[in-house]
């Protein structure tokens, strides 16, 4: 699933980061230039693909890494299991 998420991140930032760069990132994605606007595209893509709803009212730090997203999805998304 991490590979697929890395692809979605890469698409959301118009290819400014490759999936490989996303997967090997050691700092939060926002430090690599994933802007809030790209993050919104990522949220839309993840919600569509995994049929989940991301609540932006709480802690959204999980959006800042593929591992965070994968962990969040593993707990919630039927499509991710």
């Amino acid at each position: 699933m991490k590979e697929r998420l890395a692809e979605l991140v890469s698409q959301a930032c118009d290819g400014q980061l490759t999936p490989a760069e996303v997967l090997t990132a050691t700092v939060p994605l926002s430090y690599l230039g994933v802007t809030s606007l790209a993050q919104m595209r990522l949220i839309d893509a993840v919600e569509r693909e995994y049929e989940v709803e991301i609540d932006l009212g709480g802690d959204v730090a999980f959006l800042d890494s593929v591992a965070g997203l994968a962990g969040w999805l593993a707990e919630r998304a039927p499509a991710a299991r």
Binding site: S30, L37, A45
Partner: protein, 423 residues
């Protein structure tokens, strides 16, 4: 002036309620009339090394209008009315800037006129520039970019991009579907919750320095703001847009004394797969709320990020829901609640590079301030626009913010950002 015509014949006609974005801009237009030409804007498409023939340009324009239904949609009795076929008037001129100024000078006749005015600049038999003036219900800045890209492709290779773009008629239908209503209700909940706690408005004290006309715009051209915002963005892992939004919010708190500041960022609403690529007005105000009280700037930047995500999501809302919750909250609080304070980052790219001290310091000497505009009406009190690299303007109602304070705001923004960048 000589005029030509581009005859178009699209696939369908139709009628639907306005999309949320169309309704939002339509309400702003109605509130700003008779100064509603304020919302007109344009693009000059320079053909450069590959000029077109006049007939080639007319052909491409007709195909463009056929492809993007928004460009043949008029507003009739508060609904969108899509026509299949018609003729677009195309004027000829000698100077692109003068032509654009002329084409955007007067308000559109929304019910009768096509929402796109076009001019061609020719040298001999060759078209060197195509000038497009958009009615704002047909496109916003990013929508216009989509149109320009397709126009260029039509001129270059005789066809636009492959896939059929989203159309306002279909967007309106989705928005009234159960799925659309679910999205709308979540957004309405954000507007309601925040309106119950924000100050009734941001600039609530009369300035005592109202001008005639009351609305003025001050523009600060400041390479230093650009460079400083980039450095801060890299240092804090955020975008220059967030840096600017946060800095503006912090300054509004200082100027007004509010501990909680509400700003209305203009949001593109092009995050979704079903809106991307549309020539339409999708941008709407989101609601950005930050508790600024005594929080250091670096911490504010961290708080601003999730707040911006919530604001962006709240921007895709039904203006009717927003009006309803605002009325309810106003009733409950015994006072109307509206920030009248907006932020519009009109740049298309947000790429930050770590800039060194000397460069930022040197740039400080290059700033210049001007007052390019004044007018009677504005449906806001305080609007910040960011464009190019780097123009920051504030358009304000001087009855609530004096011209001296407008200038102080812009200079303060520059000082604040440079100081934070060099810290």
């Amino acid at each position: 002036m000589t005029a030509l015509a581009a005859a178009f014949s699209g696939a369908r006609s139709g009628d639907a309620p306005l999309t949320w974005g169309q309704r939002a801009i339509w309400e702003a237009i109605e509130r700003t009339a008779p100064d509603d030409h304020y919302f007109n804007f344009g693009r000059i498409v320079q053909l450069g090394a590959r000029p077109a023939s006049v007939s080639g340009a007319l052909w491409a324009l007709a195909r463009l209008v056929e492809r993007h239904e928004s460009l043949r949609t008029r507003i009739v009795d508060g609904r969108q009315a899509l026509a299949a076929a018609g003729e677009l008037t195309v004027v000829l001129g000698a100077d692109p800037d003068a032509l654009l100024a002329e084409l955007t000078a007067t308000a559109f006749d929304y019910a009768r006129e096509w929402p796109l005015r076009v001019g061609l600049v020719t040298t001999g038999a060759e078209v060197t520039h195509i000038v497009l003036a958009f009615c704002h219900h047909a496109a916003d800045g990013l929508g216009a970019e989509e149109a320009v890209r397709d126009l260029r492709l039509l001129l270059l290779r005789g066809e636009p991009r492959g896939s059929r773009p989203p159309q306002p008629l279909d967007i309106a239908r989705w928005q009234s579907s159960p799925e659309g209503r679910r999205v709308a209700e979540e957004a309405a909940w954000h507007w309601e919750r925040e309106h119950r706690r924000i100050p009734p408005t941001m600039f609530q004290l009369p300035s005592g320095a109202g001008e005639s006309p009351p609305i003025w715009r001050a523009v600060l051209r400041s390479p230093a703001v650009d460079l400083a915002a980039q450095r801060i963005a890299v240092q804090h892992g955020t975008s220059t847009s967030n840096v600017l939004l946060t800095a503006v919010t912090a300054l509004v708190a200082e100027m007004t004394g509010h501990e909680t500041v509400a700003m209305l960022p203009i949001v593109s609403n092009r995050f979704r797969a079903d809106t991307r690529g549309a020539v339409s007005t999708l941008s709407q105000e989101g609601l950005f709320v930050l508790d600024v009280e005594k929080v250091p700037f670096a911490e504010l930047l961290a708080l601003a990020r999730p707040a911006a995500l919530r604001a962006y999501r709240s921007a895709y809302h039904d203006p009717a829901d927003r009006a309803r919750v605002l009325a309810e909250v106003g009733e409950d609080r015994g006072t109307p609640v509206h920030p009248w304070c907006c932020f519009n980052d009109m740049r298309f790219a947000d790429h930050a590079v770590y800039r060194d001290d000397a460069l930022i310091r040197r740039a400080l000497g290059e700033s210049s301030l001007s007052w390019p505009m004044s007018q009677e009406q504005l449906n806001c009190r305080f609007c910040v626009h960011v464009s190019g690299t780097m123009e920051v303007s504030v358009t304000a109602d001087t009855r609530w913010l004096s011209r001296a304070d407008m200038e102080r705001f812009l200079r303060g923004l520059e000082d604040r950002l440079v100081e934070a960048a060099l810290r």
